[in-house]
């Protein structure tokens, strides 16, 4: 387990800021202690410092996971955000999309969100903006990328995609293995 290098940190923060903007500092400085990011087996883990200390006791080969896994770095040093980060993205999300109950299941299966399933969307969403997807009961379902800006969404026909799917909570069942 090692701290992230500058480059890696930059890449990761860029990705995160797509979804939560400048709220990243809330992730690091928290009232209940300092949290940090650590890299282990190409995955980025978000842990508090108390756990960090104890985690050093565990040997590298035997450590499977610490704290929360945010995502992983691919072979080409791109950062891929995992669904496991949802709990931390959701409260700080800047742009949100609400999905109708009928289309909820479809999104949970990994499909993109169509205009027909769009319930609400925050104003001033730009195109290709990172968004967090909620159900109508305000339960976070996953995140994605807005395919159209808010104004365009109003005009477009019902069968066109408005949010590209990136991660959803259905992955906990569908791809449990990829979590580690």
């Amino acid at each position: 387990m090692r701290p992230l290098t500058d480059d890696e940190t930059k890449t990761m923060f860029e990705k995160l800021s797509k979804y939560i903007g400048e709220n990243i500092k809330h992730l690091v400085d928290r009232p209940d202690g300092t949290y940090c990011f650590r890299l282990h087996n190409d995955r980025v883990y978000y842990i508090s410092e108390t756990i960090l200390k104890l985690a050093t006791n565990i040997s590298r080969g035997k450590l499977v996971s610490v704290g929360t896994c945010f995502g992983k770095f691919t072979k080409t040093i791109k950062f891929r955000l995992h669904i496991t980060a949802l709990d931390f993205l959701a409260p700080y999300a800047k742009f949100k999309v609400w999905v109708k109950p009928g289309q909820e299941q479809s999104f949970l299966y990994g499909n993109h969100v169509l205009k027909s399933g769009l319930g609400r969307i925050t104003e001033n969403t730009n195109q290709y903006q990172g968004v967090v997807v909620y159900s109508m009961a305000d339960v976070p379902l996953g995140f994605g990328v807005a395919a159209k800006s808010t104004q365009e969404c109003r005009r477009v026909d019902p069968m066109s995609i408005v949010v590209f799917h990136q991660a959803d909570i259905g992955e906990f069942i569908r791809s449990e293995d990829t979590l580690t």
């Binding site: 756990i51 104890l54 450590l63 909570i169």
Partner: protein, 748 residues
């Protein structure tokens, strides 16, 4: 519609074909009877033959009759409409006869003779009706008497016939007709028999029971060859259990209890598909009647239960959301605030959006119990040694409100994936997941406030989930598992920090009901370590055994709890909560077992050896409370090491639990290093001396010594951690020890 329409008797048409039929039968019979009244009885050839049979029949049914009554299970179902005595008997007898093997197996005396007689009797009675009018019912009756399932039908159909037959008898008796002398006699005898039969019921029962239990080798061989009817076996089991419960009264002379038992074992293994080993074990644990309940409970699934994740939602919100999805649920019980039991659901419970959002977890009710017993507090350091698939780990995290640290360990890397998944899904942030063998644990990390050990077990409590256990377990499996569990519990105890301000607890649990895996392991731990049993905090459940067969356990074992599927409607489970009251590891002076608290006069080398092992081998955490080294009598050591706290203390203080333990070697190196450090100036000398000792005695310990230094470093780290209390001995204490040692040296 094939009935003759008799203008003289008008059949009133009522609702329902059946009732009409019955009416028709009655009226027809009545007609028949009245005819007899007016005219002398005319018997057709068939009737004459039947009358002849009746003469034979009436003698026999007496015996078999009474036996049927108490034995036959169908009495339960049909008790509402079946009237006692005659009717029951007849139906029962026909059933008996229909037990396919009743004729084959002499054990089934019940059915044999009676059955045949019954059949004849039945035909007789039915035949009366047949004579006059062709009634489809009666024909059906006759056929149906062949099948067991037709009992009800028979019973219902017989009612009017029986009434008619009774009437007939009465009439005959009253008339004193001689056309059927035999009949009369038979009737009289029958009626007399009925009364007597009921009186003799009890005795006849006994006779029948005894006869039932009689299968000799031949019969069993026959049984083996022929396909045995499960119904028969089931009935035999019930009867056998009955006899065994009232053995003094119901036994057969000359037959030992073991014979009954061996037959029961054989039947149980056949009926419920267990192997003999398991049946033997279960018979040891349960009384015979309870055993049947247990086996039956294992055939059906326990109800599905879920646990609300209070980190993300509340139970009533979750219940509301699920009800809206079409799930039928209820709170689990008074004893749990987070449990819900699912009765049925229109959506898959493991795939609802609430499940995916981490609002609840599918978990068996029995798995709530060890975590409730452990009750980890906020801010503690907790270890879960066998955490997969993560239900208990996440429950602990929610009780701790995501504070403190949880180390979730499992030996299987594959199953750890589910732990990772569940931890992330339920939003647990204070956890570490690692993949060690649990036995390595005090070495990796120690000083936990609480430890949960859900040991790998034979799974005899969860047979309903995995029926393969019925046939796959045998003696060697259980022993191997028990051995592993003993090692694990010792490692777990060593990982607990007894001086933890808020904890020092270990919960040991298994999903098995075998005494070898439960009470025996805990008892072993009590002997080997400074732990004691405490209340689990679970107010229901059966107490653990304090003695079992030839073994005697510590009396505090009754504080542990056992749960059974048949009595608590949850998986079979065992929970024991232990408190560690001292970080020292009790040892015997000599390296070999069997010697306790050897005197200082024992061989120097021996004591040196044991001290080498014992000293470093301290319970669990890397505490540096060397003062607690309970190594009795180490004058040898004291000679070598001037300021060696170990021997001094050992002499000064006796261990509370004299045990015949041979210390694990792992702590050896640690301890030595720590002691070496503590001793300051004399470090190297002592260390080398010790090293040389260990080399002489056990080559392995040298390795550990080296490892010890590595561990020592880690130990430092751990010491600095706020969650661990200060373990170093103070200066004054150290000086006191020195003085003690010197005194001893002088003394000896």
């Amino acid at each position: 519609m094939g009935r003759k329409l008799d203008p003289t008797t008008y059949v009133k048409k009522g609702p329902g074909r059946k009732s009409r039929k019955q009416k028709g039968a009655e009226t027809e019979l009545a007609k028949f009877l009245t005819d007899e009244d007016t005219a002398p009885k005319r018997l057709s050839s068939r009737s004459r033959k039947r009358a002849g049979k009746r003469a034979q029949v009436t003698k026999k049914p007496k015996e078999s009759i009474e036996k049927e009554e108490p034995k036959k299970g169908f009495t339960d179902e049909n008790s509402e409409w079946l009237k006692p005595a005659k009717r029951k008997r007849e139906v029962g007898q026909s059933d008996n006869e229909d037990d396919s093997d009743s004729q084959w197996e002499q054990e089934e005396d019940e059915g044999q003779e009676g059955g045949e007689n019954n059949k004849g009797k039945k035909l007789l009675i039915e035949g009366d009706g047949d004579d006059d009018d062709l009634v489809d019912d009666y024909g059906a009756l006759e056929d149906s008497s062949e099948g067991e399932g037709e009992v009800d039908g028979d019973g219902e159909e017989l009612l009017p016939i029986e009434r008619a037959a009774r009437k007939q008898k009465k009439l005959q008796e009253a008339m004193g007709q001689e056309s059927d002398d035999d009949d009369e006699d038979d009737d009289k005898r029958k009626s007399g028999d009925e009364d007597m039969d009921e009186d003799d019921t009890v005795q006849a029962n006994l006779d029948e029971m005894d006869k039932f239990i009689l299968p000799g080798a031949e019969e069993i061989a026959k049984e083996g060859v022929l396909l045995v009817d499960l119904q028969t076996i089931h009935q035999r089991i019930k009867d056998n259990v009955d006899v065994l419960s009232h053995f003094a009264t119901k036994r057969e002379e000359g037959k030992e209890r073991t014979e009954y038992l061996s037959l029961l074992k054989k039947d149980l293994s056949t009926y419920y598909s267990y192997n003999n080993f398991l049946i033997d074990k279960l018979l040891d644990i349960f009384p015979v009647s309870e055993l049947i309940d247990f086996l039956e409970a294992n055939e059906i699934q326990r109800p599905v239960t879920i646990r609300t994740n209070t980190l993300k939602t509340r139970r009533r919100d979750l219940a509301q959301a699920l009800i809206n999805r079409g799930v039928n649920l209820d709170p689990l019980g008074k004893w749990s605030k987070v449990g819900l039991v699912i009765f049925d659901s229109s959506v898959p419970i493991g795939a609802t959006p609430e499940y995916l959002a981490g609002h609840y977890m599918l978990q068996g009710a029995s798995s709530f119990l060890p975590v409730m017993a452990l009750s980890p507090q906020e801010g503690e350091t907790v270890l879960d040694m066998s955490s997969a698939p993560g239900g208990k780990t996440t429950y602990m995290a929610q009780l701790m409100r995501n504070t403190g640290v949880i180390v979730a360990n499992d030996a299987s890397a594959d199953r750890l994936k589910s732990v990772v998944g569940n931890i992330h899904r339920l939003g647990v942030t204070n956890s570490m997941i690692c993949n060690y063998d649990g036995r390595q644990f005090p070495k990796v990390m120690g000083g936990f406030d609480r430890v949960l050990l859900d040991a790998p077990c034979s799974g005899t409590g969860v047979i309903s989930k995995d029926p393969a256990v019925k046939t796959s377990k045998d003696e060697s499996d259980i022993q191997r598992l028990a051995h592993l569990q003993k090692e694990l519990i010792l490692a777990a105890i060593d990982s607990v920090n007894a001086e933890s301000p808020s904890g020092g607890y270990l919960v040991y649990c298994t999903c098995s009901i075998m005494v070898e895996e439960n009470e025996w392991v805990v008892d072993y731990a009590l002997k080997k370590r400074n732990v004691k049993l405490v209340q689990t905090g679970l107010d229901f459940g059966k107490e653990g055994f304090t003695r079992f067969k030839e073994r005697r356990f510590h009396p505090s074992l009754k504080l542990s709890r056992r749960f059974y599927p048949h009595s608590h409607n949850m998986d079979g489970f065992f929970v024991a909560k232990l408190k560690k009251f001292s970080n020292t590891v009790p040892t015997t002076a000599v390296e070999k077992d069997g010697e306790e608290e050897t005197k200082p006069s024992e061989a120097v080398e021996v004591t040196a050896n044991s001290s080498d092992e014992d000293g470093p081998s301290k319970a669990g955490s890397k505490n540096k409370s060397k003062k607690q080294k309970p190594v009795p009598g180490k004058p040898a050591m004291s000679q070598k090491a001037t300021a060696n706290g170990k021997p001094a203390k050992s002499i000064g203080k006796k261990t509370t639990n004299p045990s015949t333990l041979k210390k694990s070697e792992k702590p050896t190196g640690q301890k030595k290093a720590k002691i070496a450090k503590m001793d300051g100036g004399t470090v190297k000398v002592d260390g080398e001396l010790k090293k040389s000792n260990t080399v002489k005695t056990e080559g392995e310990t040298t390795k550990e010594l080296k490892e010890g230094s590595r561990f020592e470093k880690k130990g430092d780290k751990q010491r600095k951690s706020p969650t661990q209390s200060k373990k170093r001995m103070g200066k004054n204490k150290f000086n006191k020890l020195k003085k003690l040692l010197k005194k001893e040296e002088v003394g000896q």
